[in-house]
Structures are given as C-alpha cells and as structure tokens.
Amino acid sequence: MKSTKFSELSQEQVDRKWWEIGDFFRRNSLWMLMYCTGCCAIELPPAMTSAYDMERLGMGPMATPRQADILLVSGYLSLKTLRRLIYTYEQMSEPKYVVGLGSCTINGGIYHDSHAVINQLDQYVPVDVYVAGCMPNTEAVMNGFVDLMDAIKHKTANGWKKYRDNYDWYRQNQIASLGEVEVHDEFHE
C-alpha cells in the first residue's frame, strides 16, 4: 500500500468531491423564489406552515432571485409573465433549479388553447421537477421538493447546465413564442 492516497486524486476528482460536499449543503438548504403566477400558489401556505412545515427540510421563501436556489413556478404563465420569468431566471445565481407546479406548466392545462398562455414551460427554461395536478395537493408539492433533493443528490438536477449549454435553443424557443423577450414598456422608462 502506498501512502500517497491524496496525490492520486486528479484535479477533476478533487473538484467532484468538492461538488458532492456542496451538493449536500445545497440540497439541505433550498431557498425558493416563489413566482406565484397562478392558482397553485394557494398550496404553498399549508406547505410552509405547521401542517407540512417546509422549513424542516431547510427550505424557505426568499425575496430576490439572487439569493434563491429554486424558481418555483406555481401555475399558468401568460406571455407577459413568461418574459419576466425568463429575466428573473437569468438573474439567479448558479446552481439553480426550476420547479413547475400544476398541469398548466406541463401542457397548458385548462388554458391549453389560449392565445395568451404558453403550454409547455420546459421549452423556455429547463424544469427540474414537475408536480402534476390541477392543482396538485400539498403532499404532492412536498413530494416534488423531496424528489428535487434526490435529483440533486444523484446529480440529475442539471437544468441550469442544460440552459447554459443549450442556450441558443432555449433562446430560439423564447423568441419564437414571445417575439422580443426583453420588451420596453412605457411605465419603466
């Protein structure tokens, strides 16, 4: 047995080790930016308060995208909202995860044929976990979070990497549906 155990690890391995340690912290401290776009947001109060107590998993709401780890999209997304959502998503610091609540984010739900509501969220931003239902009950929401933790643990929650690697594709989709993503409006000029 050689005693040069540490030197055998390549830089890559060292990085991976560090990454795994980081993942441990990340999955135990998930801060959400709640983008309460639709009706599914009503499921969050019970999830946070004494009924299900999200905080025991180390989760909690945060005020700004810079601080948050999860972008929680709770419900349908109109075109107008989607622009803001993309802007907000791009402001978040990496690694970042997206959780989509409700069927609206999956396939448009009851708004599937509306001119103003998009149908499929993961065409525009990568979604790590979907929670189906219209609306999903609170257990399902909690379960979705636990799934995300598992995914982080197994290194499958790679949406943010996908977004970075396939940025052009996402961008193309965004432009196809939205036209311009960053619009000017007269109230903020």
């Binding site: 995208p65 802007y87 960053e182």
Partner: protein, 608 residues
C-alpha cells in the same frame, strides 16, 4: 532661524506677484499660490518644530510677534490646508471672473493667518483677523452666489466686532494691547462680558448654533477650491478665540457642583450640543454635497466647542485633535467633491450617480475622509471623538452625551448619503463616456490628505505629543501617552492595535473571498427589479429625499433661525422706512415741526 516677519512679507509680496503674473496668464498666478503656500507651510512647519522661529521685527510698523505652541498649532495646520488646496487652483482658475484677484486674495488671506497666530498684540491680531475676513469675503462671490459673501461678511463682522469690543475691554484692564496681559488682567463683571463677547465671536466664526446660517450658504457657494479652506482652515479661527475665552478667562460664575463645571462653561457646552444636533439634522436633509459638508462642519464645530468647554485636559486635547482631524477630513472630502464638481459641473446629489466608475481614486479619498469624519477607526476622527467622549463621560453630562452620540451616529447618515447617491449607484447616462478621473495635480493633495487621515488614526501620539505642549502652555496637565497608547480617564486606547486587528480581519475576509468560486460580473443595470424591464438609470438610482422618513419628522422646524435673522433684517428695513416716512418728505414744514419738538423738549426739561 527664520523670521516670521520675513515670511509674512514674502507672503504679502507673493500675493501681489500672483496678481501681476495672473494678469499675464491666469495659470501662472495659480502656480504662484502653490509655490507660496507650500513655502510658507514648509518653513513654518520646519522652523516651528525645530523651535527656531525668529520674532524680531525690523520693517513692519507696530507689529510684534511671539511664538506660542498654541499659535503654531493653528498656523501650521491652517497653512497646511492652504498648501494642499492650492494644488487645485490651476485647474479651477479659468472659471473665475477675476482670476488675478483670486490668486492674490488667496495668498493674502493666508498671510493674514500668519499674522493672527504669531502676534502677541491684540490690535495686530484683530487687524489680521479682519484682513482675513475681507480678503476671503471677496473670494466667495467668485463661486456661485453673491448673497453668500454678504451673509459671510455679516456674521464675520458680528464675530469680529464682538472680539474688538472684548479687546478694548481687556486693554482697559491691562493698559496695553498685549494678549497675555490682557487675558490675565480681566476680572470681575468685565470678565463675564469679555467672556460672552469672545464666545459670540467664536460662535460666529465656527458657525455654531445660533450663528450658523452663513455657514452652508458660504461653504456651499464658495468656489470649489475655497470651500475646503473655509471649512478646514478659516473656521478654526473661531476655535482659537474659543480657547482664549474658555481656557484663559475664568469668569467668576456659579459652579454647578453636580457637574463640577462652571455655569458659563456649561451654557457654552449646551449651545455646542445644540450645534451638534442641529448641524447633524440639517446635514441629513441637504441635496448639495457641499452644503451637506458645510452643515457637518457646523456639527464638528460643536464638538470642538464642547470639548474646550469641559475644561479638562483630556477634553482640551480632544478638542485640539478634533481640529486637526476634522480639518484633514473635511479638507479631503471637500476636495473630492470639488474634483467631482469640476469633472461633472455639479455637486448636487440628485443630478449625479455612479461617479466611482470613472473616478475611483476620488472615491477612495472621499471614503477615507468620511470614515474619519464619522469617527470610525482606524482614522483620526475616532481618536479625537474618543478623547471627547472620555471628557464628556468623565463629567457625567447625560444630555450632552446624548447630543454627542446623536452627532456621531447622525454623521454616519449624512456622510453616507453622498457616498451612495453621488459616487455609488447607477452611472448617469449624461456622464457616461465623458467623465474622467481628476487630473494628477488634483489627486496629489487629495492623496496626501488621505494619508494624513490614516496617520492621524494610526499614530496619533505624534500629534498628541505636540498638543500636550500646547496644553501645558495653557496651564493644564498633559494627557498621559504611551509609545502607542493613549490613557483616557476610563480606559486605554491603542490605535495601532486596532489597526492591526482590522488589517488581520480584512486579510482573513480576503482569503475567504479569494478561495471561493469566482463570481460572474454583471452590469449595474442588471439588478433585481421584481421582473420589470428597466432601461433608464434615473429610475434605478435612489438619491432624492434620501432620508425622507426621518426628515418628515422635523422638516417643519428647520428654518426657525433663518426666519429669525430674516425678520431681524426686515425690522431694520422697517425702522429705516419709518424714519424715512417721518423725516424725509418734500415738505419743509415737517422739518420745522421737528425743530419745534426738540426745542420744546429742551424747554420742558430744563428751563420751565
């Protein structure tokens, strides 16, 4: 040996030289101000600290000199500010209407400073005192406002004439104009009168409550390079007068036993406390950075007066040291604002923003200056405030302690405002691309002053040892100083230790920072906007009504003093109009009527 007389004459002569050269080319005149003020400062400092200043007088009539540590302290400090600020003159001289006059008056007012602080004769002192007043009075209107010079003159005149009256009273008591003799001879009721007059003079010069209204107007509107001289140097003449009143004259007043302080001193301290509070509150709500600093000067003037009025040697050294640190800090801050004002054309915070992007050195200078001004270690302001706190607590003055701390915490508020609104924040589009760092010649004095701010904070004993000499000269016990430590009444301070601790802390923080993953650089406009797309910098810059919540609480009560002076002015005018109405008509019979009235008065009084 260097003769003070020679220095004075050289200063006066170079003033006229500056005017003549300024006629040839305005920049030459400004360069003369640099050379002359540097020369005067360095020779005063060198010969002063080696105790080789010569006081013989051979040419000038009536003028006599003496060298005291007190006078030297003030003269060296003030000429230092003059010398530093003079580097700004060449850059600003082209904006003035009368450039030659500016250079001349700048040097002449500095010559006046030599005269004031090195004479042993009250009359000579007053001569130069007034000399400074009128030379500087003509410098102020070269800036923004003519009214500023008027109010400056009005309050200076009140101060000067109060001083003059006191001088004559002392002369009557002593039989000569000698300063020491005069101060020693005064006693009894006259001492109280002289004390009050000198205090009025000191208040007017320092801009303390309630004689402060000129201060923001004059400082805010003076030419950019002259504001630091006013605030850092000339205002300190008031401190000099205050020392004479508070330390050298002891009017026979009732001693408040519980406070161990004479009533007269306590009253001065109360007004000083009011100055601190009022200056702080007013500084918080200014929009013009120069006016803000002017009100901060008022507040710091209050600190100086308060320290002197406590009458303990630690308070005295705190006051003297505060004069030094405030002069350095306010000088550097005013210079930084002046540099910004030159590069952008405005000093209003609501019109500026993000200046740091293009003027980082100026920013750092301002940062160091305000750290000192707010009394945060490791800058000089902390040491002087610490000494003043020691003195205040030692006397157990609860109300004044509240005022002192209010000024101290309040200074965080007002010094932060230019930092956030002017230097930091969004870069305004109108300055993008055209804004540049100040020229090197302007950076030199700013960096030197910043260095001095640091030195005063880390090695205060260099200065305090000299201040000890001044205190001993004034007849008090010196403050106990170690190699690096200062012994206060209830604790020891080791500034070097604090600095090292701070350095270690920063190093640790830096190591943590550098070890972690590199951050992604984003622009200033890429900030959290609750998802809205915002493209205009004005909307993303918070600079107007910065402290609105607290301003709301007192905004109705900010103009009482101004109103008082305004109504006084109106009263004088009304009186004039009444007299005019009664006596100046086109009817000669009115005159006859008055003649009859007067004759009647005589007859009624005496003959009938």
């Amino acid at each position: 040996m260097a003769s003070i007389e020679l220095l004075l004459i050289i200063a006066l002569a170079s003033g006229f030289l500056a005017y003549l050269l300024g006629r040839v080319n305005r920049v030459y005149g400004a360069i003369v101000t640099i050379v002359s003020s540097m020369f005067v400062f360095s020779s005063l400092a060198y010969f002063g600290f080696t105790d080789s200043l010569d006081t013989t007088v051979s040419i000038l009539p009536y003028v006599t000199f003496q060298v005291t540590y007190l006078g030297m302290f003030f003269a060296v400090m003030i000429t230092f500010i003059y010398a530093m600020v003079s580097f700004f003159n060449p850059m600003f001289i082209k904006d003035y209407k009368y450039p030659g006059a500016y250079s001349m008056l700048y040097i002449l007012s500095m010559a006046g400073v030599i005269g004031v602080f090195f004479t042993d004769n009250f009359m000579v002192m007053f001569f130069f005192f007034e000399f400074i007043v009128w030379t500087s009075m003509f410098l102020i209107p070269l800036g923004h406002s003519r009214k500023a010079a008027v109010s400056y003159y009005a309050f200076s005149a009140v101060g000067s004439f109060a001083l003059l009256f006191a001088i004559f009273m002392m002369r009557e008591a002593a039989g000569s104009f000698g300063i020491n003799a005069g101060l020693a001879a005064i006693s009894g009721t006259n001492a109280i009168v002289v004390f009050i007059l000198l205090i009025v003079s000191a208040f007017a010069k320092l801009g303390a409550f309630p004689l402060h209204t000129w201060l923001p107007i004059a400082h805010g509107n003076a030419p950019h390079p002259f504001s630091p001289v006013l605030s850092g140097a000339l205002v300190k003449l008031g401190a000099f007068v205050a020392v004479m009143a508070l330390i050298k004259i002891t009017p026979n007043s009732y001693v408040i036993v519980a406070l161990d302080l004479p009533l007269a001193q306590y009253l001065v301290a109360i007004f000083a406390g009011l100055s601190i509070v009022f200056g702080t509150l007013m500084a918080i709500r200014q929009d013009d950075a120069k006016k803000l600093l002017a009100y901060s000067s008022m507040s710091h003037g209050g600190y100086i007066l308060l320290a002197f009025s406590l009458g303990s040697s630690i308070g005295l050294s705190g006051g003297f040291y505060h004069i030094v640190t405030h002069a350095l800090a306010t000088g550097a801050a005013f210079l930084a604002i002046a540099a910004v004002g030159r590069q952008t054309g405005t000093t209003k915070m609501s019109e500026l923003g993000g200046v740091i992007q293009k003027m980082p050195v100026t920013y750092v200078v301002y940062l160091i200056a305000i750290i000192s001004m707010a009394g945060i270690p490791p800058m000089g302001g902390f040491i002087s405030k610490w000494l003043i706190f020691q003195a205040v607590i030692d006397k157990g003055l609860i109300l004044l302690a509240a005022a002192v701390f209010f000024g101290s915490i309040g200074s965080f508020l007002y010094v932060f405002r230019p930092l956030a609104a002017l230097f930091l924040g969004q870069e305004k589009p109108q300055f993008k691309g055209i804004l540049k760092e100040a020229p090197v010649i302007m950076l030199i004095p700013m960096i030197v002053l910043s260095g001095m701010n640091l030195v005063t904070g880390i090695f205060p004993n260099i200065f305090l040892q000299f201040i000890n000499k001044v205190i001993v000269e004034l007849g008090m016990a010196p403050v106990v100083l170690g190699t690096y430590t200062i012994q206060g009444t209830n604790g020891i301070l080791d500034p070097l230790q604090i600095t090292i601790a701070f350095g270690i802390g920063v190093v640790i923080a830096f190591i943590i920072f550098i070890l972690l993953k590199k951050s992604k650089q984003v622009g200033l406009m890429d900030t959290y906007t609750a998802g809205n797309f915002i493209y205009s910098e004005e909307l993303m810059h918070y600079s107007v009504d910065f402290y609105a919540p607290i301003e709301r609480l007192y905004e109705k009560h900010t103009t009482h003093v101004q109103d008082m002076y305004k109504s006084l002015e109106n009263k004088v005018k009304e009186f004039g109009n009444v007299v005019k109405y009664f006596f100046f008509t086109n009817k000669p019979e009115i005159t006859v009527f008055w003649i009859l009235i007067i004759i009647g008065a005589l007859l009624w009084g005496d003959l009938l």
